[in-house]
């Protein structure tokens, strides 16, 4: 090894960097896989720590089930037994004691492609859930005689109303192992993102059977653990513009003194996804 001196090590460093840049160039070559105009609601400014000057935009997403906070940790409807089987999970569904089955114990998260829909049917489903919840709260407020409890319900209602203008409109609606097949199914590249993520094996029991009071059999489901690249680096040229918004958006949304108008998103981002389903920021503009 001494014969070649230090040159193989130098060649390794340069060669690997070359491979990385070839990959980046390939990913960013046209045609792009997706091109979307998102806002602060979907891409929130985030920092990795007080001593880190790098700025990132975090991709906010949810599943189309209404929840006062976020439902992303819950199993979405599309990750049912059939989908999980398609993703490669081999266990049997409908067992009454699944924790005793070694197959259940062996499962780990897998990498799959997640389809995120922007401002589509899933967003409208969520809005519907939001409206229903507000209606229920209004009924409760009318019936509530205790002033403190009534005030709490009012606050809850106002918080849920604010979500309509602050909540991300990106929702996970499907998943699969073949990104090309998913793109053929969800053709509109300005509405659908196909991003690599992690899916976790999960099982949940059917509701209790009324007469016996026993739990029903357990059903196999999946939970989206994470989108693998959900922190997107802000390029240097947009740094100054984004820096003024670097106080957390979530914190801003919790400021109840601000009106709904004041809570509207402050910037718009053109986000592109390339051939390797890796994102980058093409432009950022202030919204008036």
């Amino acid at each position: 090894m001494k014969r070649f001196g230090i040159w193989p090590a130098i060649a390794l460093v340069l060669g690997v960097n070359l491979v990385v840049f070839a990959g980046v160039t390939y990913n960013r070559s046209e045609p792009f896989d997706a091109s979307l105009e998102l806002t602060e609601r979907e891409l929130e400014v985030t920092r990795s720590g007080p001593e880190n000057t790098g700025l990132f935009l975090r991709l906010n997403w949810d599943i189309p089930i209404f929840d006062q906070y976020s439902a992303a940790y819950k199993p979405p409807d599309f990750l049912d037994f059939n989908k999980m089987k398609e993703l490669g999970y081999p266990c049997q569904d409908g067992l009454s004691r699944p924790y005793e089955d070694p197959c259940y114990r062996r499962q780990l998260p897998i990498k799959a492609y997640i389809v995120l829909e922007y401002e589509g049917a899933s967003w409208h489903r969520w809005l519907e859930g939001n409206e229903n919840h507000i209606e229920e709260l209004e009924k409760k407020i009318l019936l509530e005689e205790d002033s403190v409890k009534s005030k709490n319900l009012q606050n809850q209602k106002s918080s849920i109303e604010r979500m309509r203008v602050t909540k991300s409109r990106l929702f996970a609606i499907d998943a699969g192992l073949d990104a090309d097949a998913l793109r053929r199914k969800y053709i509109d590249s300005s509405r659908y993102i196909i991003a690599p993520g992690l899916i976790r094996f999960h099982y949940t029991s059917d509701p209790k059977i009324p007469k016996t009071g026993k739990r029903g059999p357990y059903r196999i489901r999946g939970v989206i653990n994470e989108i693998l690249v959900d922190q997107i680096m802000v390029p240097y040229e947009f740094r100054e513009l984004v820096r003024q918004y670097s106080g957390s958006s979530s914190f801003r949304y919790r400021n109840y003194k601000k009106s709904l108008e004041e809570l509207r998103p402050r910037y718009q981002v053109k986000l592109l996804f390339g051939k390797r389903h890796e994102p980058w920021i093409a432009s950022i503009a202030t919204l008036n």
Binding site: N52, G54, M233
Partner: protein, 354 residues
């Protein structure tokens, strides 16, 4: 003719010191009375040899020097770790404020500069302390290079980076005979092999720690490498390969002996644990035997350590709940004394004493 390296030179000097001490004792007891001419020729030969080896390899010619050298090695490790952390945090502190092109240039240049520094010092100091420090720095700069590029260009994480870092570390280790870099390289390759096996099992690579068996194949490969690849120039490397390899086998086997759920084997957890407990005892027994047979101190020590760990884990499982703590530890101490007696017996037999 002997092909010298630092370790061989140090061993030879130690051998001469022991020989001189023994000669002195024999002379004092009146057993040996060397001719003054032979004695002075021998002393001169040893003196010349020691000064030649010390000059070339900066070896330790006294016990005090040896202790200081160990301290210097520890200091190199700590200093290296501190310097690497400093570079890491410094880059995080400034990277957002500099244009992308300069960021990329710095990231590529940093490992190359460290490599240049390493070469510069390797020609000027036989002790290799600064060389080790800069080699470690080159490794960290290369890790930073790929890690930051991944963040800057939003690249999906992959285990292939561990393969590249491992090869880089091992190359530098062989270039200057740096054992620390060999350990860094082997650990990185171990991570790569475990992650790849996990991915072959259809799971995400980063979850490889959830299945300890993923690490055993890499460990086995490292243990076998010195059998096929002789390290005449870096003979401590064989011990390092075996050490890292054995730890990569024994740690997963021990974890699975108490946590059967983590296994790929589709049996009941208890059955898996029993299998790995049995394997643990058999493997540590074989390791002790091989260590003694081939006079490999590190191998024997790892075998004995894990045999004891497996034994204690079993006792813990059997008695911890059912026994008063005082009695539990008393029994452990009795068993340790029993083990000590058995090992002492072997020790005496190996030394040829009754």
């Amino acid at each position: 003719m002997t092909k010298w390296n630092k370790n061989l030179a140090q061993n030879r000097i130690d051998q001469i010191r022991h020989f001189q001490k023994e000669m002195k004792s024999l002379e004092e007891d009146g057993i040996l009375d060397l001719d003054s001419e032979v004695s002075s020729r021998l002393a001169q030969y040893h003196k010349d040899l020691i000064s030649r080896l010390t000059l070339k390899f900066d070896t330790d010619s006294s016990d005090a020097q040896k202790k200081l050298s160990l301290g210097m090695r520890i200091l190199t490790l700590l200093g290296g770790a501190a310097l690497c952390s400093s570079i890491f945090f410094f880059f995080y502190q400034i990277w957002g404020t500099i244009p992308t092109l300069i960021q990329v240039g710095l990231l590529i240049l940093a490992p190359l500069l460290a490599l240049g520094g390493m070469q510069y010092f390797s020609r000027r100091e036989p002790t290799l302390y600064y060389t080790t420090l800069l080699a470690l720095l080159a490794c960290i700069c290369f890790v930073l290079n790929l890690n930051m590029l991944g963040a800057m260009y939003n690249i999906t994480p992959t285990q292939n980076a561990f393969l590249v870092w491992g090869l880089f570390g091992i190359f530098l280790a062989y270039l200057h005979g740096l054992r620390l870099l060999l350990i860094v390289g082997l650990l990185s390759l171990l991570g790569y092999s475990a992650a790849t096996l996990n991915q072959l099992g259809a799971f995400y690579w980063l979850q490889c720690f959830e299945r300890p068996e993923n690490f055993i194949a890499g460990g086995l490969l490292f243990v076998l490498i010195p059998v096929f690849l002789r390290h005449a120039d870096h003979y401590n490397f064989s011990t390092t390969y075996r050490g890292v390899g054995l730890l990569a086998i024994f740690i997963p086997v021990w974890i699975l002996s108490i946590w059967g759920r983590g296994s790929y084997i589709g049996w009941d957890s208890k059955a898996v644990e029993t299998l790995y407990q049995f394997l643990g005892f058999v493997l540590s027994g074989i390791t002790i035997w091989l260590g003694v047979r081939f006079q490999e101190k590190a191998t024997t020590n790892i075998g004995v350590t894990f045999f004891t760990i497996f034994l204690y884990s079993k006792f813990f499982e059997w008695w911890w709940e059912s026994m008063p703590r005082s009695l539990f530890f008393f029994i452990l101490s009795l068993i340790s004394i029993g083990l000590l007696k058995v090992l002492k017996h072997f020790h005496s037999r190996l030394g040829g004493q009754p």
